[in-house]
């Protein structure tokens, strides 16, 4: 029971933390619940499909299908997160202003919801397919332990959801005017971590075989996975900020490159424009 609890807990937390950040980042945007729910549902459906075709996907591209598939959906998520942040940089101020005005529908924010729903969907899809494969294995085996393993799975799901909720409400306790800059940074680090993870998958697929040696090893201090509290904390940090106990050079380049790219793009679109945007302030 413990093993199934841990596996499901771990996967749910990874997807759940991302959902929590997305929910916090879209606070006050009309219709976000629907979009996030759609994202989760699409992710679950996708996870079942991926699990069903695990063998076929794996055999694609000289047996590197799974790695390239993972890298692709991670990079898709990186692009969507980047787009969200860049879009928020140019529209964040008006959203914050309208939120203060209360009642005004922040319909403007809905444009970015599609991007974030995709992020939610791919996060659920990636972690969910592992859970589906695992639970399917339990079901296929049958036997007396099935019930207790499934109980473990349910407890893991509840625990993971509770942790994600804590994360979400923790973020919400941040004052509104700081919330978007905090979630902006969280999303930047989330994207950077995903980019670094994608590099690892691409390298596992046999491409990009440069700078592959680990730069340092902090697994003795905070392992990136495994059982135990340190392992779970390491895994959470891995999901949240892309922590890796043995990152290689190419991963570090992808990580820093993503942070720089997002910040440069945000700065570019946020350049004070000579016309309307600045006008109301000048009048005050």
């Amino acid at each position: 029971m413990l093993s199934s609890l841990i596996i499901v807990f771990r996967e749910v937390i990874e997807a759940g933390l991302i959902v929590g950040i997305v929910l916090a980042a879209t606070k006050g945007v009309l219709g976000r619940g629907l979009w996030v729910t759609l994202g989760v549902m699409a992710g679950v459906a996708g996870a079942c499909l991926v699990a069903l075709f695990a063998g076929e996907i794996s055999n694609l591209f000289e047996g590197s299908g799974q790695e390239l598939f993972n890298a692709t959906i991670l990079l898709l998520a990186v692009m969507m997160l980047t787009w969200h942040n860049v879009w928020m940089a140019s529209h964040g101020r008006e959203i914050a202003r309208e939120m203060k005005a209360m009642g005004a529908a922040v319909s403007a924010g809905q444009k970015t919801l599609t991007a974030l729903a995709i992020v939610v969907a791919v996060a659920v899809l990636r972690e969910g397919s592992e859970v589906v494969l695992f639970l399917y294995g339990i079901a296929a085996q049958g036997g007396q332990t099935t019930a207790s393993l499934l109980l473990g799975g349910v407890l893991g799901l509840a625990g993971g959801a509770a942790m994600s909720a804590l994360m979400y409400f923790g973020l919400l306790s941040i004052p509104a005017h700081r919330l978007f800059s905090v979630t902006g940074w969280l999303i930047t680090l989330l994207a950077a971590g995903m980019a670094a993870q994608a590099v690892l998958f691409i390298q596992s697929a046999g491409y990009l075989q440069v700078l592959m040696s680990p730069l340092w090893d902090t697994s003795w201090l905070l392992p990136e996975g495994g059982e135990g509290v340190a392992g779970i904390i390491g895994r959470m940090l891995h999901t949240l900020i892309g922590y890796s106990d043995q990152p290689n050079g190419m991963q570090l380049i992808a990580y820093l490159g993503t942070i720089v790219t997002i910040n440069v793009l945000m700065r570019v679109v946020n350049q004070p424009r000579p016309i309307p945007a600045a006008a109301p302030n000048a009048a005050e």
Partner: protein, 108 residues
């Protein structure tokens, strides 16, 4: 089916040499146990493990020290590429049956 495997064989033969330059090391999973459970590899060079899963259900080759997570479906096989390793021990497990599916890669 025969045509498909023939096509696959031609496809594999056409692979760039670099893709599988290293001789793949065999690893078999049966009844949720790895054989051999200890794999010796040369340190400082990339290695490829070909894992054959003879069980009915999928298994995930998982190792946080090797930085590998690879799902291999039931009754199929998959290549696991290892980065050049520093000498040492790198434990791995089948994530879905970690009670029995355990092994270690020793780089030397």
């Amino acid at each position: 089916m025969q045509i498909r495997s023939l096509a696959a064989a031609v496809f594999v033969a056409a692979l760039p040499v670099s893709a599988l330059a290293e001789t793949p090391l065999g690893l078999t999973l049966k009844d949720h146990k790895f054989t051999p459970s200890t794999i010796h590899v040369k340190a400082g060079q990339p290695n490829v493990i070909t894992m054959t899963n003879n069980d009915d259900t999928a298994e995930e080759f998982d190792s946080s020290s090797l930085k590998v997570e690879k799902v291999v479906a039931g009754h199929s096989s998959g290549h696991i590429r290892l980065r050049p390793l520093a000498p040492g021990k790198y434990p791995f497990m089948g994530e879905y049956h970690s009670a029995t599916a355990q092994g270690v890669v020793i780089a030397e």
